[in-house]
Amino acid sequence: MKGSQPLKDDNRERSIFAVRTIIAIFIVMGMLGALVWRLYHLQVVDYEHYNTLSDKNRMQLQPVAPNRGLIYDRHGALLADNQPVFSLSIIPELVDNLESQLSALRGLVDISDDQVKRFRKLLKRARRPYQPVSLKGKLSEAEIAIIEVRRHEFQGVEVIAQLARYYPFGELTAHSLGYVGRINEEELATLDERNYSATNYIGKLGVERFYEAELHGTAGLQTIETNAGNRILRVLNDVPPVPGKNLVLHLDIALQAKAQQLLEGKRAAVVAIEPSTGGILAMVSTPSFDPNKFVTGIDHASYDALRDSLDLPLFNRALKGRYPPGSTIKPIVGMAGLDVGAVTKSYSIMDYGFYRLPNEERLYRDWKREGHGRMNLFTSITESCDTYFYDLAFKMGVDDMSRYLGYFGFGQNTSLDIDEARSGLLPSRDWKRGLRGEPWYPGDSLNMGIGQGYMLSTPLQLAAATALIANRGAWVAPRMLKQTGDKSIVLSQRENALGDVSLRKPENWEYIVDAMESVMHGKKGTARGSGYGAQYRMAGKTGTAQVVGIAQGEEYDAEALAERHRDHALFVGFAPVDEPQIAVAVIVENGGGGSVSAAPVARALFDHWLVDAERLNVGEASGE
């Protein structure tokens, strides 16, 4: 039969099944209970939590970058514009295989190793999910077309249009405006994260940097609903950005262009100031560079070329160049000598071509070997006699000399809105002891009296000091900004560092100015060549700064010295004498004598500003 297997008992099987069914029903109920308990927890207990998560999911706060304020010159010429640029970006979350995507893209458009490196760096930065990471800035139209046509092959690759800074005048304004560039990590740490969350560029230098807060504006905020692919479905709430303020500068782009043209091919700088306002009319440093290259990120090769150039195109000579002022400070030193009573107008010396301190062997030589003969202060300024100023400096001493030079803005950055301006070096007893551990020797005073030795000044300082003379002691701090677009006061400016200079005898201003006038127009004036034939009267002072020291008894031969060892040519001046409208400082590195290389530049600028500009304004030809 069936061996050991007993007969099947249908009733028993039924009853077992029934019992098991009841157990099954209990288990089913229990499991359903577990599900309900779980759902209850998710949907009732933790409802708030998940509701918030859900809202966060679909609603994103998207910052909207404000349009950067524009920058105009004094006549409304646009110096800094915003133009759309297209950049190639990747949304990493949407890319399956980043590496293959990258190499595929590199096969399509030119992407350098640097750009890939920067992309990887950006990728590591903290960012919101689905935020595009920039790979290549400034796509050409051809590149945009190539990418757009094959868009479907590149999931997560986007061409993003943005406004970027554009400087229509390029090189011409690089050193006066500065430029904007991509925000770097260091800046990121100190920025107002909220306001800059949609901004890619920040002022790196110059006006762009100093007025960053005004130019940038306030970021807007859009509450947008997105799907998981980060596609914007609709805008739920929109707080529009407040665009940055437009700035109007004192700068005159025509004068700037004129100065640039005059300095073409030289290592030189010009600063022109309007004495009545302190406004900087022109600020040129040559050679210059194209700031537009820096906006979207300059490539390494171009940057290295700029950085390593012997002519230092990146170096702003007008603000940072520290030059011995040479004879250009003689009017100031002379004025100080009069004011402290070290000399009088009638006091004169006999110049044999050198000066010797009491009990000293060393000869302090005049630039004119045979000497100027009998000289007073007036003729010493006109002819730039060194010997007279050796004597004056010795009589006055370093303390008074340093103090008066300080009144004229040397040794500090007196500008209202130029942070990069260097303070130069105004030597004093304390400075020398503190820095060098040496006492101040009378010889040091002598060198300082003719603007040599330790003293260093920037072209901006020289121009500002000249404007102070033009104003007969009324101090105006040099400044770039004329006004903001909405004419409200800009609070970010620096404090005015100096006050007016009042002499014991105010008529001494005219005495010094007259001496400077005779530099330009006098028979023996060192810059009479540059003053010749002008329709207006001008005042000025030439200067020559030694680059290498000339040993005792050695002949100075400009031709024989290597070009880069030649003296720097300097000139300061203003015009017209009676109602000064423009004060300039010119420095031409290795230009030789100030009268030869620097003064003609100033004359041309004076002409441009006073004659050509007048002609333009009046609209009538008035040739010589």
């Binding site: 028993r12 077992i16 099944f17 029934a18 029903i25 599900l35 309900v36 949907q43």
Partner: protein, 388 residues
Amino acid sequence: MLEKPPVNNDFLRQMPGADAHLSKQSSLFYRLHIDPILLGLLITLGLFGLVILYSASGESWFYVQKQALRFGVALLAMLVFAQLDPQIFKRWTPVLFALGLLALLGVMFFGVGAKGAQRWLQLPALPRFQPSEFMKLIVPMMVAWFLARRYLPPYFKDILISLLIVVVPVMLIAMQPDLGTSILIASSGLFVILFAGISWKIVMGFGVVFTSLVPVLWSFYMKDYQKQRVLTFFDPESDPLGAGWNIIQSKTAIGSGGIWGKGWLEGTQSHLNFLPESHTDFIIAVCAEEFGLVGVLVLLSLYLLIVLRGLNIALKAQDSYCRLLGGSLILTFFVYVFVNIGMVSGILPVVGVPLPLVSYGGTSIVTIMAAFGVLMSIHTHRKMLVHR
């Protein structure tokens, strides 16, 4: 021999109307071998599913129409299966099982598939099909066929044989790999053994053995993506944009629905594509988001009623084969529901199990309705047999 009323009369009385209905035998439904209660519940569920699908698919009529068509085909399959006498199934069970195993082996060697899984079989002159789908019905049939012929409660030896019947196809399917289906088939087989009256001591013993096997399965048997799913289950936040994304997003969808839901077509999670596979495996999250806890409770109640009706049919089945098969099929149906909702709500790891009759998808809905056809056949043929 006149039998006493079945011992489960008490239970039947708890199902009001069930008996009363059975007495009106000569209705159209009974001539069509259809259980109107089950059919009504299934259609209600199917329609509810279409409503959810419309929203989950991003308001796509295309999906809804396609799914409605499938549902129609599935109803047809149910109707066909319902016409076949359970005795026919019983007779052909061993043959079907042998063919099923052969097909699974065929998949292993000649199968086609996608996404790293090989699940389909393409035989000449036949449409492409998934043998594992058929095994969902055949495996419980085979175990029921075997145990129905043995003395019950089963001896240990018979239990081992039954387990072998279950384990072989389950292993073959798990190797495809298709974790979801192999779990469903394994449980369908085990349910038969449980209903047959296996001693609880043996159940516990096996439980211990299986638990100790888990580490072995983990290191030698599971694919990386399966391990990843399990790991993700334990810590979804560890990879919020990768593997954990699904769970986080579906929990967010469910939780943000609250008690009353955001309203039909108003679910932000699904409509904004944050919810992955919102129209297939994760469709319950759409329901929970848009209809809230209330909506899910309605859905769960429908499932519960279907399960109770199925168990009722199994209870009244005429012989062991039908009882065991019916009980197993309906509990497997419940496993679908539990695993799916459990995984979407984050209490179970993500395994690819659809929500029966609601998730968008072709094959499984036909299989499920065919199983209901078998249940209806068990129910209606019993009556006809008695009254012939």
